[in-house]
């Protein structure tokens, strides 16, 4: 229950933060109006959006609208922002799922190998890989791949969506960073499990090492990794903006970029809010799930 309360407070503060930033950093009427609007237009907009009322009244109606799923109208597309968001979401989900697949397929085996051959050659190679994953900007990886696979080799389309070939490069560029994170966690989690009593027992009882690792150790070591993957999937949907821009992928990130480029402020506001809300909810779910799985955590609270 306490967690739910914290999550609600977080959501409330999130909306307040965004509300305050929009108001403090300038007249929202100017942001809401199209560039070059006259003073009369601005006054009309102020009245239309209730910007002439006291701040707390404004915040109240802002919240009320959010509660109804009403994020306002897009200026560029002239449609409901939430509808727009929903129409782009499947693309983001597809991209994030394939990226997650890449990151797990790369991250888990390398993490296991690094843990089994700890401090060996593989471990050092893995560390270097993790460092590269965390240091290379994902959009640069994307640009390099376009240069190599699209321009020089001509194997893959450089941008757009539609076929399976279109997904590969953006998904790899996006999954790259997370692969490093998943590898690190697999390694440390695997190391912890390998040092535990039941793994020692399995070894003593004479099981072949491969079976000990695959059946006893890996199964338990994967629990934290998959939890992180769940959180990261939501994160991927919300941080894909640069990769989506590079590959002209029509997901939520691209929508956010267009929102910025066209000064379509309701879109920017909605995406940031929904992204934050998604992450708060997923964190809460993970907490609850852990409490359900593990009674020790439940009774501590």
């Amino acid at each position: 229950m306490k967690r739910v309360g914290f999550a609600l407070i977080s959501l409330f503060l999130l909306s307040l933060t965004i509300f305050v930033f929009v108001r403090v950093t300038g007249d929202p009427a100017v942001l809401l109006a199209e560039p070059g609007a006259s003073t009369d237009d601005l006054a009309a907009i102020r009245q239309q959006f209730g910007l002439d009322q006291p701040l707390w009244v404004q915040y109240g109606s802002f919240l009320a609208h959010l509660g109804r799923g009403d994020f306002g109208q897009s200026f560029y597309y002239r449609t409901d922002v939430f509808e727009l968001y929903r129409s782009r979401l499947p693309y983001s989900l597809l991209l994030a799922s394939v990226a997650m697949l890449f990151s797990l397929v790369i991250g888990i085996p390398t993490g296991v190998i690094a843990a089994v051959r700890v401090n060996g050659w593989w471990d050092s190679a893995g560390k270097l890989f993790a460092l590269l994953g965390l240091s290379l900007p994902s959009f640069w990886v994307g640009l390099l791949m376009i240069l190599f696979f699209s321009v020089y080799l001509g194997w893959l389309p450089s941008s757009g969506s539609g076929t399976a070939a279109h997904v590969l490069m953006p998904a790899f560029a996006l999954g790259w960073y997370f692969a490093a994170a998943h590898m690190r966690l697999t390694r440390s989690s695997m190391l912890e499990v390998l040092g535990s009593e039941y793994v020692k027992l399995a070894r003593i009882k004479g099981l072949p090492e491969a079976l000990v690792i695959a059946k006893h150790a890996l199964k338990n070591a994967l629990i934290p990794v998959l939890t992180l993957a769940g959180i990261n999937l939501v994160l991927m949907i919300n941080v894909a903006i640069v990769v989506e821009t590079v590959f002209a992928w029509p997901g939520i990130g691209r929508l956010l970029y267009e929102g910025i480029a066209f000064r379509d402020f309701p879109i920017v506001q909605a995406i940031v809010l929904l992204g934050g809300a998604m992450i708060v909810v997923v964190n809460l779910l993970v907490d609850v799930l852990y409490a359900v799985i593990d009674p020790r955590i439940r009774y501590e609270r």
């Binding site: 640069w140 994160l235 941080v239 903006i241 821009t245 956010l256």
Partner: protein
């Protein structure tokens, strides 16, 4: 050792500690290469006016898309080629180091000061101050840093100084979390209790006794954050909400380079990205090493 240290003056003890630290730095693989890379970039940034062969912001349209000197069609005039406006790439890279480092260092320092102060207040004072600061931290951490930064940048408009403020506003929470955790354990320690008994005010305790003890963590975190901040700045500039053109920022160069990507003008994409990668990699390696050296508690991060 203990006997002589007791007789020695405080300054001599400090000198001994320093000497011991220096000696242990030497023995445990001082990261020569990363430090060298950072020093080279800092010198390049400092002496950009002397080093750059051309004006980084002005080009000759007749000299567009010259390849680097060693390729067919390259000239000794432009060692690393020219971009879509005929500007010298080498000069832009050199001045770009200045932009990246100035923005990076300032953002990390501002975020560090803000986060450390709030972290100390939160940890030491506790109560409602702690609650308020930590709930804000939770809410801000729920937003993916890049999305949050883009949101802020879209509101306030592009300028190098705005980017510094935005990055500090986004990243202070990391420091606040870590510092608060340290303060919680520090304030239970003997020397703080003695200070309370001796009648020190809360302000004095926080400034004289707590602050010096959390500085190590702050410095380690700042080094690790430098890479993150530089990548974020590059991403913002790449998206057109960071450092405004025609200033020579690496992220901006990558955005411009995309225009020549499909034509195979590789140097416009490969070179600025390599600069980002080298600097970020060096900062991360130095940060990792500092973490192990200065702050064993942070090894888990």
């Amino acid at each position: 050792m203990n006997g002589s240290a007791a007789n020695a003056s405080p300054s001599r003890a400090a000198a001994l500690t320093l000497a011991w630290r220096y000696a242990s730095f030497r023995s445990e693989g001082f990261p020569v290469l990363p430090v060298l890379i950072i020093v080279v970039f800092v010198l390049t940034a400092l002496f950009a006016n002397v080093l750059a062969p051309h004006n980084p912001e002005v080009g000759t349209l007749g000299d567009r898309f010259h390849p680097p000197a060693w390729q067919d069609g390259g000239t000794g005039e432009h060692l690393l080629g020219t971009d879509h406006l005929g500007r010298d790439v080498l000069s832009r890279l050199i001045f770009g180091a200045r932009v990246s480092l100035v923005v990076g260092f300032m953002a990390v320092i501002f975020a560090g000061i803000l986060g450390t102060v709030l972290g100390i207040l939160s940890g030491y004072l506790g109560g409602w101050v702690d609650q308020v600061i930590m709930r804000i931290t939770d809410a801000w951490l729920a937003l993916p840093a890049l999305t949050f930064a883009i949101f802020l940048a879209a509101i306030v408009g592009p300028s190098a100084m705005n980017i510094v403020i935005i990055l500090a506003a986004v990243y202070w929470t990391r420091y606040a979390r870590v510092v608060r955790g340290e303060v919680l354990s520090l304030k239970e320690r003997e020397f703080v209790r003695l200070a309370i008994v001796a009648g020190c005010s809360k302000r004095t305790i926080m400034r004289r006794h707590i602050l010096p003890n959390v500085l190590n963590s702050t410095i380690v975190l700042a080094t690790l954050m430098l890479g993150v901040v530089i990548v974020t700045e590059a991403s913002l500039s790449f998206l057109g909400v960071g450092v405004p053109p025609p200033q020579p920022a690496w992220g901006l160069m990558l955005a411009d380079g995309k225009k020549g990507l499909m034509a195979g003008y590789w140097w416009l994409t490969v070179l600025p990205g390599t600069c980002i990668m080298l600097l970020v990699l060096a900062a991360n390696l130095l940060g990792d090493w500092l973490r192990v050296k200065l702050d064993p508690q942070l090894r888990q991060l």
